[in-house]
Symmetry: C2
Subunit: 347 residues, 2 copies
């Protein structure tokens, strides 16, 4: 067994995306909750545990998602922790097919001495983001704690909605195409650049945005032909595609030459030596689409203001289930899943 | 204006229950969310903002509640943070009439170095508490942060359920009786005693427990006659009754001689100089009940293992809306609402 498996203390390494974190969740949380055989009356099915889940109530799927947002700095080029904390659950719900009539809760933990003006600015940003998505906050909680090393504020948001239809991240089939709804790495690189004063005159901006209306358009354009969806947040497209491939038991070949990446992102990514495929996005989705529907879906996504740069970036194969191959144009290599988050505290 | 109103920084004083905290919530959060006129299609009504809310979806009320749990010590006589974090939302949902088919999410923030064995013990406690309530956890998130002054773990839980019927804390009417479902102050005193090694040979134990089945029994016994419900958690019965009275625009006269308080709780409360009325409970409810139904409700509550000590402790009046009078048996005095939590980090 590895050191991670036998450790008797939680380490920061587990706090980021990737296999180490997933092992912690698998070991502790799944054992506690996911295998409980007792399903209450009225709830017919429960999806696999993760940061999103679904319960079948009557003839509908109620989907739920939760995430705690810890980020430094709180305000960055193109967004802030408030926008992030609202777009996060809205997009996670959309990834399961719940794109309308979304209700959210919001729990805020503040460090003693947190500036009131910053709180007001964050709340205003949360309010605006909700309006864009036609989502509402129905309940909230606030706690103030002593000094802490988390940047002054942690926002935990939870969202619920009804999925029509329920979509999962595990439905890819051989032959399906992988569509990304826009450019890669904008969020992670914008936060990184803000943090290290690398913005200069760059137009680098986070892509953080609610994309539920974009996803609704895609679902309406190709009912039944979208086989899987996932938001490429922590760990970027690489982590998300790895997880989709593993859960769906297919291989994925990504076409590196097709990856949409802004020049400004590519520039900073090269400067800090990180592949755009590994960088977090906060306003993008990966869609698994049946080959015969990919043109319709692409047209629908590109017709949305947040989807103009959408592209087909990969194809699913029967071979090597769970692995992701990167076709560079001049050869292929195995894309490995990052063990720990390269850019911590980014979303 | 007071110092609290004009302060440009959030202070710990606001982290507890009571008027200071409510002002912060009123000023910042309500302004951001509650008055938003844009209600999405499919959501017909939104309740007033607080740590619980309800949206009308179709012909049903979906209720949601959220709370972040910060407590020291994590393990105390009669419970732990895990049981608290699960019983909290389950009971808050029950207070709105949602007692069955409850779905929860759970977001855990861990301090770097948190003992793995403690996490496992907490998770096992969460799992057991869910089983007692027939509630299920459908999604979770974990973050590990650096060193922090919050006791090693913060658990934010959010719950959803369908209310049948929807009950609020604002429905008291003159003549209604106030029923408490059991003894007062057990949770706060047990945590306090554990913290300061005052347990000695005492049988002092937290009352932390899910009471959704108890509430279901009360609702079934007197459909329509339960006019308001509230959990007397932070700030105890005093804070809860004050809030119910203010929202319902009634006065409340509490009968001090009728308050059920265990000897062990009374002992420690006297030792530390705090009234049991002000101490947090985590397995109790306050019910507003129409006078003609109070016997039926009391019988139903007392028939539940967690409701044996239920008592009628007050009556609502038209006079002095929003105020709470304590009838000591030898005279009456105005019960003032505590400005700040007397026992911080208790739930």
């Amino acid at each position: 067994m590895s050191g991670v498996m036998t450790s008797d203390r939680i380490s920061l390494k587990r706090g980021a995306g990737g296999p180490a974190m997933r092992r912690l969740i698998d070991e502790s949380f799944l054992r506690a909750f996911a295998t409980d055989p007792q399903i209450p009356a009225g709830i017919i099915g429960v999806s696999a545990m993760g940061d999103s889940g679904a319960v079948r109530i009557g003839d509908r799927w109620l989907v739920m998602t939760t995430d705690s947002h810890v980020i430094q700095p709180l305000f960055f080029a193109g967004g802030d922790i408030g926008r992030l904390a609202m777009a996060g659950p809205i997009n996670d719900l959309a990834m399961m097919g719940a794109t309308e009539a979304l209700a959210l809760t919001c729990s805020v933990i503040l460090e003693d001495g947190f500036p009131r003006a910053d709180l007001d600015r964050i709340l205003e940003s949360m309010r605006r983001t909700c309006r864009e998505a036609a989502a509402i906050v129905v309940a909230g909680d606030t706690k103030v704690i002593g000094k802490a090393d988390f940047g002054g504020i942690v926002i935990t948001t939870t969202g619920v909605g009804f999925a029509t239809p329920l979509v999962r991240d595990a439905g890819l089939r051989p032959g399906d195409r992988i569509v990304v709804t826009g450019t890669l790495g904008d969020h992670g690189m914008a936060v990184m650049a803000t943090r290290h004063d690398l913005l200069l005159d760059s137009d680098l901006q986070s892509d953080v945005a609610p994309i539920n209306t974009l996803i609704r358009g895609a679902l309406d354009a190709a009912a039944g032909a979208i086989t899987a969806m996932k938001a490429p947040t922590r760990g970027g497209v690489s982590a998300a595609v790895h997880e989709m491939a593993a859960k769906s038991r297919v291989g994925v070949i990504l076409d590196e030459t097709a990856l949409p990446v802004r020049e400004s992102v590519r520039g900073v990514a090269e400067l800090v030596g990180i592949e755009p495929l590994l960088i977090a996005n906060e306003g993008k989705a990966l869609l698994g689409v049946r080959a015969d529907a990919v043109d319709r879906v692409l047209a629908a996504v590109r017709g949305h203001p947040l989807g103009r740069d959408a592209a087909v970036i990969g194809v699913c194969t029967e071979d090597r289930p769970g692995t992701v191959i990167l076709d560079t144009g001049s050869g292929c290599r195995l894309l490995t899943e990052p063990e720990a988050e390269l850019l911590p505290r980014i979303c």
